[in-house]
């Protein structure tokens, strides 16, 4: 495995779509994920970026970190803008006005921009069957505005709007299952990924970008600032999220589930939780509750993939 990690990077494209010099925080898992995704996307794309961390760190006038065409407009409409780009290119190609065949519109948004404020626009675009790819970079809260909870924040996490307190454990709702919502639209391709498994991420993005029709990839992006963890643990914590079953890696191709990494045995969730300040306050009974939930959910997923 270690040997593979040393050599496999040589197989990755050298060209950066997301160039260095951006303003992301030290140890940002999302910047890493975007960088890897861009390597897989290649040049023939138009990126539509929601408001959020990646937009802010990459686009301050008059600078840009993007070497591919890129547009940001609002927080909530990423998928709708992407659908406009897709149909605009399609009709102009058909009419012979601007010949840009096989250009893919790619939406990028955080978990808030996807599972909360952008959900309606995304659902509409998935249902209409546009030929586009949507990447959700999930750092499990509104990090850009200062670590407020979203519907993608995990149970028990302390955020600035779901703070752990004398009578609260922090976030009291379970993480919204966004990949399942995407899959419920019966689109050709849905996957989860994490930059800690970078070859897996790249392969999935390459696969998704080549598919005709809507594709959705949900990418866990460790956020040391918001998760209150050490900046040199980004990749490690991403691995632990997968190894504990908190964030399993899988694909849903034409409705068929497939585990990308079939773990014979899950590590205890405490291995993942204990490295992060946002879970530090959790009592044992809550940790047990999380463990039980993970066991049940992982079993359900395995059953689907069987």
């Amino acid at each position: 495995m270690e040997k593979q990690n040393t050599y496999i990077s040589r197989l990755v494209a050298k060209k950066e779509g997301f160039a260095p010099g951006h303003r992301a925080c030290l140890g940002c898992g999302e910047a890493l994920a975007v960088r890897l995704a861009c390597k897989a996307l290649g040049d023939n794309v138009i990126i539509v970026n929601a408001t959020g961390c990646m937009e802010i760190v990459s686009s301050q006038l008059p600078y840009t970190s993007w070497t591919v065409p890129w547009i940001h407009t609002l927080f909530e409409n990423t998928a709708a803008v992407a659908s406009g780009i897709e149909v605009g290119l399609k009709v102009m190609n058909r009419k012979g006005r601007r010949l840009l065949p096989n250009v893919k519109a790619v939406g990028m948004a955080g978990d808030g921009g996807t599972s909360d404020i952008g959900l309606q626009a995304l659902s509409g675009a998935l249902e209409r069957g546009h030929n586009f790819l949507y990447l959700c970079f999930d750092n499990e809260a509104y990090m850009n505005t200062g670590i407020q909870r979203s519907s993608s924040t995990p149970y028990g996490a302390s955020t600035t709007t779901s703070p752990a307190g004398k009578v609260s454990i922090g976030q009291v709702t379970w993480k919204k299952n966004m990949p399942a919502i995407a899959a419920a639209h019966d689109i050709p391709y849905v996957a989860t990924a994490c930059p800690s498994y970078f070859k897996d991420l790249i392969t999935k993005v390459e696969k998704a970008v080549a598919i005709k029709g809507p594709a959705y990839i949900h990418i866990l992006s460790v956020c040391p600032t918001g998760w209150r963890c050490a900046v040199d643990l980004t990749v490690r914590i991403g691995r632990l999220a997968v190894e504990t079953g908190m964030f399993p890696l899988y694909e849903v191709e034409n409705g068929k589930y497939k585990l990308s990494l079939d773990l014979p045995q899950l590590r205890p969730v405490t291995d993942y939780l204990k490295l992060q300040g946002r879970f530090r306050h959790l009592p044992e009974d809550v940790i047990n509750k999380i463990q039980q939930r993970v066991n049940v959910e992982y079993a359900k997923l395995k059953e689907k993939a069987a």
């Binding site: 006038l61 008059p62 065409p69």
Partner: protein, 391 residues
């Protein structure tokens, strides 16, 4: 040879979009805009127009999809009304600020609550500061002509701004009127293909929609203001050329006996034709009255308004919208602001009328003119009156 045909104005509007050879239409159904998008859907389904019709799940996504298609250089159209326009409000600023030449028909509708599907100008007034060009129409022919002109103005390389063409819901959108549709070849000569200068393109990557820190934000906004003001010259030029080609001339402010009238009434939209009938009747009775019809609302035609009222003693402005807690109707407020610094200016009286589809009759306009003339002499404790309101 083209001849006038009787048709519903919404249908004629759809035909104008077809004549303009739009590439992308993204729209969400809302009364009273529906006949426009239904007709366009039929045209596309029958292959009469080679366009992509995006059946979005909301007006917010309608304008967002339009934004995306305009950003890759496609000719883009949408239509909405009242609450739909409000729902896309957020996106409207982005579209004008990013200089994307989208054309939108707005069948003016009142805003809830109480729910009203009927016409007034609350929707149009609430978006007056979004940076769009706004043109008001008063009959079906004006609608058709000002959809064609809207594309030409929006896509002009000196402008590159979105345009709203307003038509009053039902009062105009659902009327059957004799309308002249120009020949396709004539339209093709008037309206060249859209050549958006810097579209999103992998062969020439651009970054669009950056964020602007305080050190640069104000400069971008000033540039936008200068651009919108300067667009007026292009609007005049396009209307002039349209007149030369098609024989129908448009100007920002239409004057009806402004030169010699002592009392002037100012209206916008479909009620202007009824107002004109009232004014003609009153003139027949020897009354010294006239009418101003305001067609161009943004950019505001300051010079034309000042010129139109220069001989008048009284100006009565009839707004079809309210500005709650404000000084008057929104149109009247702006007219007052435009005239305040003038050495000679008429007394200005503000009325609001025709809210939520309330009919404005010839008799009503006569009453407004006589009541307004009286108020100009006696003054009033009210900043404005809602004409005909009970209670």
């Amino acid at each position: 040879m083209t001849t006038k045909k009787g048709m519903e104005v919404s249908v004629a509007l759809g035909e104008a979009v077809k004549l303009a050879n739009a590439d992308v239409i993204a729209a969400y159904p809302i009364t009273p805009q529906t006949h426009i998008v239904e007709h366009l859907a039929e045209i596309v389904a029958d292959g009469e127009l080679d366009a992509e019709f995006v059946l979005v799940e909301s007006e917010h996504s309608a304008m967002s999809a339009c934004l995306g298609s305009a950003a890759v250089g496609a000719r883009t159209f949408t239509a909405t009304a009242g609450p739909g326009l409000e729902y896309m409000h957020n996106v409207l600023y982005v579209v004008s600020s990013m200089q994307l030449p989208i054309v939108m028909a707005v069948t003016n509708r009142a805003l809830s609550a109480p729910l009203s599907i009927w016409s007034d100008h609350s929707d149009a007034m609430s978006v007056r500061d979004t940076g769009w060009i706004q043109i008001f129409t008063e009959n079906g022919q004006e609608v058709v002509d000002n959809i064609l002109c809207a594309f030409r103005i929006a896509e002009d390389q000196r402008v590159l701004l979105p345009v709203m063409t307003h038509l009053d819901g039902f009062f105009l959108s659902h009327m059957i009127e004799p309308i002249l549709l120009p020949e396709q070849s004539e339209v093709d000569q008037f309206l060249p293909p859209n050549q958006y200068p810097l579209p999103l393109n992998p062969n020439k990557p651009v970054t669009m929609g950056d964020f602007g820190p305080p050190i640069i934000y104000a400069e971008t906004k000033w540039a936008q203001q200068v651009n919108l003001r300067a667009a007026k010259e292009v609007i005049l030029e396009v209307w002039r050329e349209f007149g030369e080609r098609f024989g129908r001339y448009y100007i920002p402010v239409e004057c009806h006996h402004c030169e010699d009238a002592r009392v002037l009434l100012l209206t916008m939209g479909s009620m202007s034709e009824t107002a004109m009938t009232a004014i003609d009747k009153m003139r027949g009775e020897g009354k010294n009255v006239g009418l101003i019809r305001l067609r161009l609302w943004r950019p505001f035609p300051f010079d034309e308004i000042r010129k139109a009222v220069k001989n008048a003693e009284v100006l009565i402005v009839l707004d079809r919208a309210l500005s709650f807690g404000g000084p008057a109707g929104p149109v009247c407020s702006e007219i007052k602001a435009a005239l305040y610094q003038q050495d000679k200016r008429p007394k200005i009286v503000s009325f609001v009328g025709g809210l939520g589809g309330r009919d404005m009759s010839v008799g009503g306009f006569e009453e407004i003119v006589s009541r307004g003339t009286e108020i100009s002499k006696t003054g009033s404790s009210q900043e404005f009156e809602i004409f005909g309101v009970r209670g």
